[in-house]
Amino acid sequence: MKKLINKPGDVVREALAGMASAHADLIKVDLEQQIIVRKDAPLQNKVALISGGGSGHEPLHGGYVGYGMLDAACPGAVFTSPVPDQMLTATHAVNGGAGVLYIIKNYTGDVMNFEMAAELAATEGIEVASVITNDDVAVQDSLYTAGRRGVGVTVLLEKIVGGLAETGAPLSQVADLARKVNSQGRSMGMALTSCTVPAAGKPTFELGEDEMEIGIGIHGEPGRRRTRLTTAAEITEILTNPVIEDLGLKAGDEVLAMVNGMGGTPLLELYIVFNELQRILQGKAISITRSLVGNYITSLEMAGCSITLLRLDKQLQKYWDAPVHTPALRWGR
């Protein structure tokens, strides 16, 4: 295992300490409770947005805490959902009286831990709503799985819904927009390499020199199928077509397109994939109105990428464009 770390058990705490000093203008970090909170929280009469999940997906979620996005993030151990105590502490730290929205990626662990936190918050009379993201078309949603995973759309949702929350909209409206964003976005990912969980010390799986995994999530896990490595053009087709189909995108539609790196893929390659994506969508007369190319929701040092398309309308575009100021996403101020 080759990593810039000290002890595997200290990875998350030390990275949080680093974040705290690098972004002291934007966030407060509680190293004891392991939560990241917006500097000016709690904000009176603003719905507070909390998300969380295992570490190893940086900048998700801690990098998205700040003006116009999340009020708090709860990072768990690497690839391990945080615990209800973190979420409850975060809830106390950010609740400004207008209620709290939990943004939960659909993984059994995340769902159950947030569920327990919500139960506890409810007993204290705090108004909590939850939205679950499940945009990964690699998982066939059916009786035979835990349901589609929450992946790339989570980033876009945190931004867009954060934009609305900043206006002082009520919890029900904020939660509705969150559900709408989730319903209008889909993703699919692939890996060229696995990654190594620090505590495990070796790669989660092994891939041959000419192999790739299609339909991976964001936990360094194997995907739906292993196939021969092929060109960026074909890989982009493989990822994009199911997304387009599942969303029912058609000529004239406008989308926000994200080409996301899994952590170990150079930006140069992500732009090549974006070029292919643009070509595919252009061929179907779907226009990319907004875009994001880079590492936004990662799996440690995994090489690979995911593609997310979000069907845009006036409302989503407006809150996407709204100012945001977080460690990892910033515009308009």
């Binding site: 295992g54 768990g76 151990a77 690497v78 690839f79 391990t80 959902s81 945080p82 615990v83 209800p84 105590d85 993984y107 059994t108 662990g109 159950m112 831990n113 569920e115 327990m116 690699a138 998982v139 066939q140 009786l143 035979y144 799985t145 835990a146 995973r149 969980v197 505590a199 495990a200 070796k202 989660t204 799986f205 999530g217 936990h219 360094g220 896990e221 194997p222 739906r224 199928r225």
Partner: protein
């Protein structure tokens, strides 16, 4: 001879040790069909448990088990945190105030634990989860209780059935938890959660036998 609160303490100590020793093994199982963290999750949780209960020599069994439950919920995370946490919480509720447990009480305790896991995880037998170790163990416990076997044997039979249940997960297709994303590719691998469940049940049988 009933199981005493001392036995429960020793069981928890033995579980902590066994899970620590099997950290890498459990993570290896989780690498194949999950995200390579089950070993460290369980190790982290039980090492917090052992610290938490270190001063609780005199506590009744219910209090002990509830403490285990809340500690696991607060320190494990992932899927196994809420599931094991709920299991121990429910087990603690079923044994509230007790200083020792007869066979029937042991079975009732595990019944409550299993119900808790099912309620929290919305899974049932055959989905390639920890329930595939717990449910056969519970069935074996019920049967042993019907046969009025001594507690040591009851626990041996439970652990034995947990072990066969765990091994049987190899051939199952996962339909719950992270392994379900793999579809057919989940077949051929032993479930990590079923494995940790067996380790914990075996630790109980071994503790009481010795």
């Amino acid at each position: 001879m009933p199981v005493t609160n001392k036995d429960i303490l020793h069981w928890l100590q033995r579980s902590t040790q066994v899970l620590h020793e099997n950290n890498a093994f459990l993570t290896q199982l989780d690498s194949a069909i999950g995200d390579a963290d089950h070993g460290s999750n369980m190790d982290r949780g039980f090492s917090a448990v052992i610290t938490k209960i270190s001063g609780m020599q005199e506590a009744d069994i219910g209090t002990l088990l509830k403490t285990v439950g809340t500690t696991l919920v607060s320190t494990v995370g992932g899927a196994s945190g809420p599931l094991y946490g709920t299991a121990f919480l429910r087990a603690g509720m079923a044994t509230a105030g007790k200083q020792h447990l007869e066979g029937a009480e042991i079975v009732a305790m595990f019944e409550a634990a299993v119900e808790g896991i099912k309620a929290r995880g919305k899974a049932q037998a055959g989905e390639k989860t920890m329930l595939d170790a717990f449910i056969p163990a519970l069935e074996a416990g019920k049967q042993a209780q019907l046969e009025q076997v001594p507690v040591t044997e009851l626990l041996q039979r439970m652990a034995g059935s947990a072990e066969s249940g765990m091994k049987a997960t190899i051939d199952l297709l996962a339909t719950k938890g992270r392994a379900s994303y793999l579809g057919e590719r989940s077949i051929g691998h032993q479930d990590p959660g079923a494995t940790s469940s067996w380790l914990i049940l075996q630790a109980l049988a071994d503790t009481v036998a010795s």
